[in-house]
Amino acid sequence: MENQLEQLRTKAGLTQQELADRVDVSRQTIISLENGRYNPSILLAFRLSKLFGQPIENIFIYHEEIENEKSEH
């Protein structure tokens, strides 16, 4: 699953550690999320959504949707 976490974090001027502290996870989890190596729990997804003021589907992009978008273009 792809995500916009790194872009949103950078835009918000937060470091990985600051973001981790805000959503009560470790910095390692943020690193794994940004690298696409870990899919968050629904609770963490909601926390990130609330923090950035974005719907979850704007932050985390289900791969099937990307494939569908590619086939449309």
């Binding site: 009560d24 996870v25 470790s26 390692q28 989890t29 870990y38 729990s41 963490l44």
Partner: protein
């Protein structure tokens, strides 16, 4: 996901447990040397005191460290309760469980083959059967339990 701020009561428990353990240990020694015919004769109170103090020592030091560096302590708790770390622990635990099940079953089969034809009660064989079957029974019961809860 656990709230990382809920560990403070556990840390306070540590101090109480260590003090209680030391008191119990001291009472055990005093009773054993002054009043014969009590539970303290077989060092039961001293043993319980050591157990209680040992149980509380890590939370107590954690509590002291948290008072000195609250931000660092919070970060440590976050790392411990982190959802990804928790998932990794579960996966590693399941892998270890499968390995132990397969390994103990192989040892049981080999041991059974080597002792084939030997009659009489063999405690080693029953131990190996227990080590092989018990984790699977616990796994099955836990799976049903978690499904219902």
């Amino acid at each position: 996901m656990k709230n990382p701020n809920t560990n403070s009561s556990r840390d306070n428990f540590g101090t109480v447990a260590v003090i209680g353990g030391i008191l119990l240990f001291a009472v055990g020694i005093i009773l054993r040397n002054t009043v014969p015919g009590t539970l303290a004769d077989n060092r039961l109170l001293e043993g319980l005191g050591i157990l209680l103090a040992g149980w509380g020592i890590v939370p107590m030091f954690r509590s002291i460290a948290a008072r000195r560096d609250p931000a660092g302590a919070r970060r440590t708790m976050l790392t411990e309760n982190d959802e990804r770390a928790s998932e990794l622990r579960h996966r590693a635990g399941y892998t270890a469980f499968l390995f132990s099940f397969v390994a103990s079953t192989i040892v049981l089969v080999v041991y059974s083959a080597l002792t084939r034809g030997v009659s009489g009660f063999d405690p080693m064989w029953y131990t190996l059967i227990f080590l092989s079957v018990a984790p699977m029974i616990v796994y099955a019961i836990a799976t049903v339990w978690y499904n219902r809860s």
